[in-house]
Amino acid sequence: MIIEERSSTHVYKQKRMLSKEALAAVESLCVHEQPAYCVAACPLKLDAKALMAAVARGDWAGARGIYEKVTPFTRLLSAGCEAPCESKCRLSSLGDGIEIREIERAVARFGEKAAAKGLLRFKKKKTVALFGSGLFSIFLIGELARKAYPLTVFCAEPDLKSFMARETGFMDGEALAAETETMAALDVDFRFSTNLARMDSLRAGFDVCCASAGAARQAWPGARSDERIMMFREENLVMGCEGGVTAAAFGAKKAALTVDRLAQNLDPCNSRGEEGPCSTKLYTSTEGAERLRKVAAGPEGYDKTGAESEAGRCIQCRCEECIKGCAYLRHYHKFPRILTREIYNNVSIIMGDHMMNKPINACSLCGQCSVTCPNGYDMGEICHIARQNMVATDKMPLAPHEFALMDMLFSNGEAFLCLPQPGYEKCRYVFFPGCQASAVAPETVKAAYKDLCSRLSGGVALMLGCCGAICDWAGRYEMYGETVEFIDEKLRTLGSPEIIAGCPSCKKELSAHEGLRVRGIWELLCELGLPEGAGRFERPAALHDSCGARGDAETQRAVRRLAEMLGCRLVDTDYSGDRSPCCGYGGLTAYANPQVAREMTQSCLQRSGEPYISYCMACRDRFAREGRESRHILELVYGTAAGAPPDISRKRYNRLNLKRELLKELWGQESEKVEREYKLEFTDEALEMMDRRMILESDVYAVMDGLRETGEAVYDSETDYLIARRRLGNVTFWVKYREKEDGYVVHRAYSHRMNVVQRQG
């Protein structure tokens, strides 16, 4: 059986993955990039969160740099700011919010000023005049100097000191002196002792004219400022406002933007962006916030140590709920919004490299993020749609999923079994253990089936096969449709019985078929009670909820009840129930990206040092492969330890052998066995290598069969190996072997997907 490889890389098909609106709707669910509460509350857009982080790590120069982005007059701002941020601090709902303003004062006092940039800044061509003094004027000078306007300030005061003292009486002498020095360092042309009533004539020759509220009213008594754009429209005058330090600083920011627009002869009302405080949709968990009481400041404010300690209480508000629980998102270190956008772009690329194919195929589609995210962002759904889209546009490489898909075809082909209970034609139930149960723990499947037959009336049929999850996860929607039809058809031959699923993922998949009744074997066992010979497990154990049982409270409850009946002492772990992470098997991660899958498994196991009990055989297998004591709940129920995890060939053998044994024991049918004329031996190195390289023993047998037909092989005198090869489907397999009397010893095996041919000329 062959699955067709994608066609030429030179065939270009395109299909939209999501509409623009749908993409925007999905992206808006991710709040990771939303501003922190304190930042959103600040009309001046001070990044208080970054400021706290800089102070906490003792980076005073960095902190000062952040603060100076708002204004060069940091002493003035910190002395008079009303600090709307403080009441919004997330910690204020639990205890004391961070003393942001006091820390800002410390930054203004202790933060070393960065050395002036060496590059000469060219002044703008448009000139600006500013009339009047006061807080608004000081902040506006700071804004306009930064924007490099040639600025002339006309004021009534006789000198700079008295100009700076106007409306700044709340500052102490030292701060005032410092800010006067800051002002003196700016390249501004001051015209002191000016009669401001002459404003109308003095403004001639300037491109833009600004005035404090007082100065404007001195010239035009009825002047009123439109506070949205800080303008007295009738006189085309940028006009200040009254109010405290925060209002003045905010007014100056708006005024500076208006100056920009007027200087370019543009309407000051347009293209202003978002000004002032904004709302934020950020979510931040306060779990683990410890220091809820503020560090007391002295009468002079904080010293450096005090400020660093207080800033260290900041929990740096951010939403990381998804990434905390998901090894996949941690591996790529991307938040869902960014990841979705990159995947969307990746799918839209017609020619060139698709850099996001790997991340698309590495997600386990487990849906954990849809539960941990406060807004229910489902990254798995995005990756699933992207996979289906890649299949539809023929961009999905077969390599990441071929082994799993072939394994599914094996489960539903050679290893498939569907029979009514002996003595019945139609059955009331059918046991569907799932492909991994037959592969990992065939004895458990056998015991479970015999138990169900003996304790249920109406006949229990058996169906050994794959539910179709494999091709669903691979995005192969056509194959999935065929599998659904295949299973439904087989079920009809059994009289459409109720399905008893042995695997939560099968239960989930089969429940999606129209008209099927499905329940988990664990629920049934809770009703029936434990069978004779049930094991006991009286040690503490961690229960790992299967990702297939997410949102399936019945299953989660029944399994816990069953564990209790078995004497298990379950220990609580983080991320249990609906929040459970995937073991690494889901979504075919284990095939497409073994490294990420391993990180997922390890992340699951970090939750507890106890043995793990699970109710999905794939979880059981992956935990055991990581060396942890791992039991499937049915192994305990039936006292059938499955032992060490089987390799990929053993998993196939187990399925086939289970089918043969059951056919013989219960239905009295003998299966044909393929007898070969030669014997194959595998060295341990070869077996380990084959498991790692996804090469089955049956592939090696096929190579050797080919060798015996054609006699084609290469001899390497250096290693004394003979080397044979055969193309099977989309892959060429190579086997390094030595001959012996009755057959061969296989030492190494490898494969490649490229086809190699001889060429002429």
């Binding site: 490889e5 994608r6 066609s7 030429s8 890389t9 030179h10 020619m351 060139g352 490299d353 698709h354 850099m355 194919n357 790997k358 490489p397 390599a399 054609t710 006699g711 084609e712 092989a713 290469v714 001899y715 390497d716 005198s717 250096e718 003979l722 080397i723 090869r725 060429t732 190579w734 390094k736 190494r748 490898y750 494969s751 490649h752 997907r753 490229m754 086809n755 190699v756 041919v757 001889q758 060429r759 002429q760 000329g761």
Partner: protein, 71 residues
């Protein structure tokens, strides 16, 4: 000059087990997803068996496969 993406010389240590002759450096081509790469590999001068060494299969060939799969 004719382009070759990869050249390897058998250096006398490889021979064809069927034809009992040493493999020689010969012209071959890798094909994948409708892309071709001319290479020089150890080839049997009699039956034309093309040998792909393990290091090549797991090294350069795998890298090119992965790159092409994401085109």
């Amino acid at each position: 000059m004719e382009k070759n993406y990869y050249t390897i010389d058998p250096l006398g240590k490889l021979s064809c087990a069927k034809c009992r002759v040493p493999l020689v450096k010969g012209k071959a081509k890798f094909m994948y997803l409708d892309n071709g790469f001319p290479v020089e590999l150890p080839v049997c001068p009699v039956c034309g068996f093309v040998y792909v060494p393990e290091e090549l299969a797991l090294g350069k060939v795998l890298a090119v496969e992965k790159a092409l799969e994401d085109k």
